[in-house]
């Protein structure tokens, strides 16, 4: 029931459609540049697909995080949390429904990215693998980030705090992917990449799409995304117990 209400609010309310429109504009600009810009055009076709897929995963997961971070604290600020808490639904059902609503953004982002990946990857037989890898890794990261958002939202006193903390954590998680190549080498660099679910997931996608590795060869890179998705999803559902009408800091 909560999930249905959440999906209706997001999609009929128009917020999710606007976010999806912004996402598609971003992918359109990226795909156009990759296909036509002479500086980017030297990228191999596999690299072009990988770049587009990585951006789709990153932004799709970011959308799930943003919606997740707005769930409980947003209801509290809009004055609708009391009504929500009074509905005859278990607390865990509330956060589960909110989580499913946030994940719908990722599903939409993935569906939108399909034509772009198809266009960039057609002719070299990597469309299927790319889409499957994107769906697998993107879903794991979206579950992780949406759950993180719901968890932070449940514990935050205000929506501003929730969004700020969530975005800060996201930036901290993305930072290792921007390290220079030399910093990512050696056991310490690899360990840092492996324990970071975002860096590990994107590394795995790159190995499948660019290097055409088999699914099992680099499967160990999926350990941290799987653990993060499972642990944070459980934490987000359990966090329903800590939801208070006035928020953690003020109440």
């Amino acid at each position: 029931m909560i999930a249905e209400q959440e999906l209706r609010d997001l999609w009929i309310g128009g917020r999710a459609l606007l976010l999806s429109l912004a996402f598609s504009l971003l992918l359109s600009v990226l795909a156009y540049l990759v296909a036509t810009n002479t500086a980017l055009n030297y990228l191999e076709q596999r690299e072009s697909v990988n770049l587009t897929l990585q951006v789709a995963i990153a932004i799709g997961a970011l959308l799930a995080l943003l919606v997740g971070a707005d769930t409980i604290s947003g209801e509290r600020e809009r004055g609708t949390l009391e009504t929500l808490l009074l509905t005859p639904v278990p607390r865990t059902g509330i956060t589960t429904g909110k989580l499913l609503g946030a994940l719908s953004l990722w599903i939409a982002a993935f569906v939108i990215s399909i034509p772009y990946v198809w266009f960039l990857g057609r002719g070299i037989g990597i469309v299927g693998v790319s889409l499957a890898a994107g769906l697998l890794v993107g879903t794991l990261l979206a579950v992780f980030l949406a759950s993180l958002g719901v968890l932070v939202s449940a514990l935050s006193a205000s929506n501003r705090v929730s969004l700020s903390v969530s975005l800060f954590l996201l930036l901290a998680l993305y930072a290792p992917t921007q390290f220079p190549t030399r910093a990512q080498q050696g056991w310490a660099g690899e360990l840092l990449l492996r324990i970071n679910p975002i860096a590990a997931g994107e590394h795995y996608v790159g190995k499948l799409v660019i290097d055409a590795h088999s699914w099992s060869r680099d499967a160990s890179w999926l350990v941290s995304p799987i653990i993060a998705a499972a642990a944070f999803a459980v934490a987000a559902v359990v966090a329903a117990r800590w939801v208070r009408l006035r928020g953690a800091a003020s109440g």
């Binding site: 999609w11 009929i12 309310g13 128009g14 459609l17 606007l18 999806s20 429109l21 598609s24 504009l25 992918l27 359109s28 600009v29 795909a31 156009y32 990759v34 296909a35 036509t36 055009n41 030297y42 990228l43 191999e44 076709q45 690299e47 072009s48 939108i112 034509p115 772009y116 266009f119 960039l120 190549t181």
Partner: protein, 173 residues
């Protein structure tokens, strides 16, 4: 005093008799001297470093270099290969070392590649270089960019239309 002078002379003779790279007859032979590829592609080749002398060489270092054979093309060798320096150590008398190189064609045009071998000690003597490997790199349009515009414009337009439609239907209710 005489002993010291003799010792110095002996040492000087020994130092002079240590073969330089050229006198040690070190040669470098690439596996290919012509490569045709297209921009963005990887290609590989190997170089064999031979020591034709009857004595072992000193420890050596091999270095790959990349340059444009036409003016006006900027080439940054670091973009072309992430492993351009190989420490090959000492090569025994009449022995050889095989080195594999992996290069990415970053620019189109006529590119020259060569491998230089020099002593690891840093001794001031000219390095030995391989014959030039001439790489002809064709401009490649990796994608059919002609079809991207309808897709890039169509999907956001469809989503915008959907958003407007949902908004209107919501207002009508």
């Amino acid at each position: 005093m005489t002993r010291i002078v003799v010792l110095c002379c002996v040492l000087a003779i020994v130092a002079c008799s240590a073969p330089s790279l050229a006198s040690a007859a070190v040669t470098i032979s690439p596996s290919r001297t012509q490569v045709s590829t297209s921009i963005g592609r990887d290609f590989t080749f190997s170089t064999r470093v031979d020591n034709k002398a009857s004595t072992a060489t000193k420890p050596l270092v091999a270095h790959l270099n990349v340059l444009s054979l036409r003016p006006g093309v900027y080439v940054d060798p670091e973009d072309w290969s992430s492993r351009r320096t190989v420490f090959i150590g000492s090569i025994p008398a009449r022995g050889s070392r095989l080195i594999d190189w992996k290069v990415k064609a970053v620019n189109s045009g006529d590119i020259g590649i060569y491998v230089a071998v020099l002593p690891q000690s840093g001794k001031a003597e000219p390095p030995v270089t391989s014959p030039t490997i001439h790489v002809s790199i064709a401009q490649r349009r990796t994608l059919n960019s002609g079809g991207i515009l309808p897709l890039a414009a169509g999907i956001p337009a469809a989503l915008a239309a959907l958003a407007v439609g949902v908004r209107f239907s919501r207002k009508r209710r």
